[in-house]
Symmetry: C2
Subunit: 302 residues, 2 copies
């Protein structure tokens, strides 16, 4: 594809329909900026808005989101199952088409600087945009959530932000802005209310404990649905696949006699990922992405 497109899956620490609708409607009015998907989870108390556009339009969208968050969200009173450090928690930039990772790094840095300046708040640059190795890993930046960062920001060396004040904004908190390859946010819900089981399975599935190398996983309590969840990020879905993640959760759940209630993909998923899943479950080892009709509308009719 010869177009220059950047994707951003902006994570907001709120599941308030009114706030999220206001954000998506306002972004939708920016020409050249597309809200491709959005979803909220009441237990995570978190929403993800997936946006496509170029540097200029995405920058506008980020400022629109911050403006609405500034008016409506107070992170110091936020409760939710998912670790977070700010009202606008994470802003990743992902390259598509002829956009390069370097473009996304430059964008993350420029947006980061502007946000720090405007809101006088701490900004962490993560992933490929990280300025120091300690900030490459988002989960380290976010460790212990807002509460921990509030305690440590002044006195722990790697908690010092890359831009802005070394002091949390009273309502916006902090924000992590980064550049990264596409990931798949994939959650598997279990027919259980035992959070320990979800946490144990998450541990078995995630890379650092011997599970799938490029998978991050946490156990989350879905109180409103009387379920627990293994919430995963597949950081490289070619290396550690959705099929592997799903089947491994299912296998580990058997240890507890627990069944799968269902799954969720949060935000966008690349087509090649779908082709891999279909190829697996229908036993078509050589299914090609070029067999998907719509693929050609993208690749060949530009």
């Amino acid at each position: 594809m010869k177009r220059k497109i950047i994707q951003s899956a902006i994570n907001i620490s709120s599941s308030d329909e009114k706030i999220i609708n206001k954000m998506t409607e306002s972004i939708g009015q920016i020409p050249g900026c597309l809200v491709a998907d959005y979803s909220s989870d009441i237990d995570h108390n978190r929403s993800v808005i997936s946006i496509l556009g170029d540097e200029k339009n995405l920058t506008k969208a980020v400022f629109v989101i911050f403006e609405i968050a500034y008016e409506t969200i107070d992170i110091s009173h936020h409760h939710g199952e998912h670790p977070r450090i700010g009202a606008v928690d994470v802003i990743p930039f992902t390259p598509w088409g002829i956009t390069t990772m370097e473009d996304c790094i430059v964008l993350a840095q420029s947006v980061g600087r502007e946000i720090a300046k405007k809101y006088l708040m701490p900004v962490y640059l993560y992933g490929e945009a990280a300025l120091i190795p300690e900030h490459e890993n988002l989960s380290l930046i976010r460790r212990g959530g807002y509460e921990s960062l509030l305690q440590e920001i002044h006195r722990v060396a790697d908690r010092k932000p890359d831009y802005g004040l070394t002091r949390l904004h009273p309502t916006l908190g902090a924000v992590a802005i980064g550049a990264r390859n596409p990931l798949v946010a994939f959650n598997v819900n279990l027919k259980s209310t035992d959070i320990k089981i979800a946490k144990e399975i998450a541990k078995k599935v995630r890379g650092e404990y011997g599970g799938l190398t490029r998978v991050k996983a946490i156990g989350v309590n879905l109180r409103s649905r009387d379920l627990v969840q293994v919430s995963m990020n597949l950081l490289n879905y070619r290396m550690s696949t959705v099929v592997q993640a799903y089947e491994l959760v299912k296998i580990e759940a058997r240890r507890y006699g627990v069944e799968i209630q269902g799954s969720e993909i949060i935000g966008l998923v690349p087509l090649e990922c779908l082709v891999d899943i279909v190829g697996y479950y229908l036993s078509i080892p050589d299914l090609k992405i070029s067999q998907v009709l719509e693929y050609h509308f993208i690749e060949n009719f530009d």
Copy 2:
């Protein structure tokens, strides 16, 4: 999508690599005409070339294929597992984007008339392009294959072609040209060499015998691979889905203690079909086509 695109999955009665390569290379040189996929099966002795383009370019492509078939294929000496009536056996036109079925019907009729005139051969118009109700169903046009048509073309009323001579061309035979909605050509291969089993399963799966309403199925012997196959056409993959077809073949195969060796999708498959399959096997009942990243490159950036 605001473009005018027609898809054609042209069925050729040959699996000769040289012939098919010559066809795809020649079509590839027509500007605005894209060979999206092609595949051959040695046991079917048949190839499918999937082409995308507009009316003008697809017409050119059909003539290129006929010209090469005329030089290289003799249907009177053809052997293969799949029913066929001509060297170029079937030419369907399927609308995409802003193309209408009416556009495809008009195209089928004009291409049909021109082919009949140039090669003095019988042309049957099928599907939505059929001129008489008896020709709507392709499998009725093709019943008994070339051999049966050779016997019956002069003396059975519904065997009379819509265009051209009521006499088979000595090497090209006849051709069915039609307009239809997209279908999925889906084959499931069985770990068995017993063709009776494949035929029995095909009977159970196909609509006319009480199986899936919008599925056609036949049993095919894959001698070169020591397997048998249930070869299906899913005429409406929303009504009768790939998941249903696959699982039903698997269920019926159990009756004989036969396992699935693997499956094949021949030619192109629409994205919404993939979304349905992934939603089923990962238990994501509300997976949306708009969650596929590339979907937005087609729909919103025209």
